[in-house]
Symmetry: C2
Subunit: 360 residues, 2 copies
Amino acid sequence: MSRVYNFSAGPSTLPESVLLRAQAELLDWRGTGMSVMEMSHRSKEYVSIAEKTEADLRELLAVPANYKVLFVQSGAFGQFAGVPMNLLRGKTSAVYANTGIWSGKAIAEAKLYAEVKIATSSKDNGFTTIAPRAEWVVDAEAAYLHYTSNETINGLEFQDIPDDGGLPLVCDMSSDILSRPIDVSRFGLIYAGAQKNMGPSGIAVVIVREDLIGQTVKGTPSVFDYKQQADNGSMLNTPATYNWYLLGLTLEWVKEQGGLAAMEVHNKAKAEKLYAAIDASPFYSNPVDPAYRSRMNVPFRLAKPELEKTFSTEAKAAGLVTLDGHRSVGGMRASIYNAMPQAGVDALIAFMAEFERKYA
Amino acid sequence: MSRVYNFSAGPSTLPESVLLRAQAELLDWRGTGMSVMEMSHRSKEYVSIAEKTEADLRELLAVPANYKVLFVQSGAFGQFAGVPMNLLRGKTSAVYANTGIWSGKAIAEAKLYAEVKIATSSKDNGFTTIAPRAEWVVDAEAAYLHYTSNETINGLEFQDIPDDGGLPLVCDMSSDILSRPIDVSRFGLIYAGAQKNMGPSGIAVVIVREDLIGQTVKGTPSVFDYKQQADNGSMLNTPATYNWYLLGLTLEWVKEQGGLAAMEVHNKAKAEKLYAAIDASPFYSNPVDPAYRSRMNVPFRLAKPELEKTFSTEAKAAGLVTLDGHRSVGGMRASIYNAMPQAGVDALIAFMAEFERKYA
């Protein structure tokens, strides 16, 4: 067996030590004689796994005590509906920043429930930069202000938390949560699918200030009701138990690496050297404003687009896989989340240089 | 390592061969150099896993071509909302049979969207029997007729499919799907969480006649829109990829055992010997009408209820675990789904006889 470097945008590579531990425990978790995936979610063994996971997430993100941490299903896409269903609280509009394809999907879904007011849009610049916060239009009567901290497809990432304009600030942090320290107290709600920095797909995290929940819109499915889930320890219904466990193993790995400060150093180093290699070459290019370039997803183009397929094929032969850009935009893309080691990025940079030498 | 016999009602025991295969493939699926949980859901490798799983489910259940098979998140509880959201189709009422605690939860959720008319209720008999179909009241103007084929808490199971009364018949088959052959063509929609007979929790299956979908109620989250999911191969959003794979491994195991006809023989034999042991003893009892006793969940009482804790503790010491009844009803319960071997039930019966000899 030879492990590859997998640059998938999500689901994505996981730390090898997490996989090895899951493998070792797969048929027998700590002498219980059963797999975690066979445990009743009400058993004391499983509850201990679930509680440890929540405690580790609270510790890593320094989540204040007045926030609920929920483990839910249906992904961030489910929360595109869950957020307005829970946070409109009798109001009729919400404000969204439109900075990429995922913001756009969140906006489209929110329109099922609310009038959506656009604070700013990067559409006219091809999602390559974000207008300064001072230029945003934020209606103080709206229910909340929503943004997407990292856009995986265009590779556009907020480097700072925008001012909330007096509204509960809501963030889809799916693709950069745990990649750097973040001040949770500045948010009303953070949500994130697990399948980039927290584990496998099939589970999502919602971190919400407790005073904001309990007033869902009519017709909210109970499983999407954050108050009901909070009151039941995210076990109103059977949770995705094995996914929750794998998320927990991933959090333990982040802690072993030194937590979010260490993750930031690690991720900054990888991104800087990859962008430096792209910028230094006439053969590769990335169009994003350096002030908003993503540390997680690095899209790039070849000067000869007809070589994209060859690039992908030769990279795969070199053990560097899933480098195709998103099907909606084409080009190439390297996703370099927490679990991507420096050696993976180094190998990619070396491959790119060699490819350029051969074909440029 | 010593594997126990795990009688959990769900999540529940899985075939050891499924776990061994998952373990062997955990870091490297078929030479790809990555775990299934690290694969992009758009990759050709992952799509092959997903498609094989759907094909196997269609084969096992002989699903007619005019039915869509969906793999969704948020469990059967999510579908308690999803079913009315999708199947009301402009109508204002739906008919439900109330045969236990899960029926009751489905009814409570449906009331968020529709007037619920009760076809029959087993509440007055303590959920120990079901009125003959001829006595049910089914309004022909309602959108559909819903029932729960097996109630895990009271151990009450339909042995035949009830007449649909001219309505699309909808069934929550979470706890007995794949336990016996079933005529899918008699249903408008079948849904089932995976965590009893199909794999781990975190994924659910919806099998729906294609002419019934596409008219959701206003405010239906897109992830709950069966038509949108069908049009996107259950990948409108990132699915629970690893759960889907484990579900696929479980289906392969069912096929290896001989399919649903073999499963029925296997399950009937286990249930018959366990009920026979209970009925033959003055120390154990089960109150359910023999015509509706569940083959999947066998609740029983001790003549001395004060010994329940001792029973549970001594059973655990003998490697027979998770035998406590549901927290809402107490007593004992043995869940004996597909993956519970004959030897597990034999060991339980022997333990029960020995316990009776010691304490009766």
